[in-house]
Structures are given as structure tokens and as C-alpha cells.
């Protein structure tokens, strides 16, 4: 079965929650999830982030819901890594 193991996302979010809290809550979506975030641009009320999520089986919808719950908005999925570990034959 093909599994998503990495997602690089372009996200717009309000200043609150702050970056560390936002990233931590995102990582708490699923056990074993590793999340790193980088601020690309800061405006008066918002900031644009590049967020990299890594895990054994990522669910984009679940991550997107968590982003929305914290007031953020998923602008684009910039990079995806998928592994297919089904044995051929």
C-alpha cells in the first residue's frame, strides 16, 4: 500500500497561537509525527509558514483540519513523498 511519509505545506496563520505552540499541536495530531516549521513572511495580523510533516502514514485531511482548528489556512501542498511498500508480484 502506498503511504504518504512527507508533506511540505504552505500555510497562512494568525500570530496566535505562536509558532512553537502551533507546531506542537500539529505534531500531536498523530503519534510518531515529526513537524518542523519555518516562518517565510510576517504581516500585521498573519504569518506565512512552510511546514514539513514527516511520519509513517500521513493523512492530509487530518492535518488540514488541525490547521483550520488553530485558525490557519492551508494554501498549497508544495512537496509530497510517498512510499509503496507493497511487495511486487
Amino acid at each position: 500500500m502506498a503511504r504518504i511519509t512527507q508533506l511540505v505545506l504552505d500555510i497562512l496563520k494568525p500570530h496566535d497561537p505562536p509558532l512553537a505552540l502551533f507546531t506542537r499541536h500539529l505534531a500531536e495530531v498523530r503519534s510518531g509525527l515529526t513537524v518542523s516549521a519555518e516562518v517565510i513572511e510576517i504581516d500585521e495580523h498573519t504569518e506565512t509558514l512552510t511546514v514539513c510533516c514527516e511520519g509513517s502514514d500521513l493523512d492530509l485531511e487530518e492535518i488540514s483540519e488541525a490547521i483550520s482548528a488553530m485558525g490557519g489556512s492551508l494554501h498549497s501542498v508544495d512537496k509530497v513523498r510517498v512510499i509503496n511498500d507493497t511487495e511486487a508480484g
Partner: protein
């Protein structure tokens, strides 16, 4: 887990910066309540032969009025502030943010601020009135009920000052004594005007 965290009160209060507002409203209106009660009790203590039920009813009436005033005024003003902040954020995010913690926080924060603003003077009033009720029920007190209530009011005002000192990170004793000084000045003015 994520949903639980986002719904947690601590998280919602943090998002709207309501922690500080709740504390400020609680202390300010709590101080108002305690000082108002102190003024009334001084007034009663320098008046001749005021029956205890009259003192209790007057103090209770004032405490309830302060609570209702505190709840309604804080809710109206804080709801407007939160709505304005949310509208600005919606505009910046180009989203209605309907499922966001910010939306939930904008509903919950005014309620909490209103409760703090109205509940603190009521709590102060009830605590200060405890000796009056005890006296009314015939409990033996080391001083008259009004004197005991005055002592309670001064103690609470001192404790509020200490709490403010803790928030500021300054000396608890000095901060407590400062608020006690304000209470002392109030007592003096009420006493002098009442005596005159």
C-alpha cells in the same frame, strides 16, 4: 488529542490574550467591591444604632448591584472587542474561521471576563458579610459583627494588594500596605465627612 487541546480553556484564553484581562478585571472590580463595602461599613459604624439586618440588606444590595453591573458592562464591552479582533483576523486570513479556536474563543472570552468582573465584587461582598451573618445567627464573635466585617474588608484589601505585588513581581508586603493605605484614606474621609 488535537481537538482536546484546541478546545482547552487555557489554549482558548491564550489565543485571545484573555488571561491578563480576566485577572485585571477580577482584581480591579474586586477592589471596588471591597472598598465599597468598607465605606458602607464605616458609615454604619459611625451611625447610631443601626440594626444588623439593615446593615446586611444594604451590603447585600450593593454587592448584587456591583455584580450585575460588572457582568453586564464587561460582557458588552468585551464581546464588542472580541468581535472586532475576530473580524480583523477574518479579513486578514480571507476566511470566516468558523471552525477555528479563535471563533470559539471570541464567544467564550467575553463570558469569562464578565464572570470575573461581576463575580469578584460579589465574592468580596459575601466574604465581608460573613461576620454580619454569623452575628445575625447569634454566633459569638470577638468583636461586634460590623467591626469584624471591617477587619475582613481590610484583610481582603491587603491580600488583593499582595496579589497585585505578585503579578508585578514587586514586594508583596509593600504592595499590600499600599492598598491598605488607600483603604485607610477612604476610611478617614468617610469618617471625617460622616462625623461632620
Amino acid at each position: 488529542m488535537e481537538r482536546k487541546l484546541n478546545n482547552s480553556l487555557h489554549f482558548l484564553l491564550g489565543i485571545t490574550g484573555t488571561h491578563g484581562i480576566v485577572r485585571r478585571y477580577a482584581v480591579v472590580n474586586g477592589f471596588d467591591g471591597a472598598l465599597t463595602m468598607l465605606g458602607m461599613l464605616i458609615g454604619f459604624s459611625i451611625s447610631a444604632d443601626v440594626a444588623l439586618p439593615v446593615v446586611i440588606n444594604a451590603c447585600l444590595g450593593v454587592s448584587i448591584a456591583l455584580a450585575v453591573s460588572g457582568v453586564s458592562s464587561a460582557y458588552i464591552s468585551e464581546a464588542a472587542e472580541q468581535k472586532q479582533a475576530l473580524d480583523q483576523l477574518r479579513s486578514a486570513m480571507v476566511s470566516d474561521m468558523a471552525d477555528s479556536a479563535h471563533h470559539r474563543a471570541a464567544t467564550i472570552a467575553p463570558l469569562l471576563v464578565a464572570l470575573a468582573n461581576g463575580g469578584s465584587p460579589l465574592l468580596m461582598g459575601v466574604l465581608i458579610m460573613l461576620p454580619l451573618w454569623l452575628g445575625q445567627f447569634g454566633v459569638d464573635l470577638p468583636a461586634t459583627p460590623v467591626q469584624m466585617a471591617l477587619g475582613t474588608a481590610l484583610t481582603l484589601i491587603f491580600l488583593l494588594g499582595m496579589f497585585l505585588g505578585r503579578v508585578r513581581g514587586s514586594s508583596l508586603l509593600v504592595s499590600g500596605l499600599l492598598t491598605l493605605l488607600i483603604a485607610g484614606a477612604t476610611t478617614l474621609v468617610v469618617y471625617l465627612l460622616g462625623a461632620a
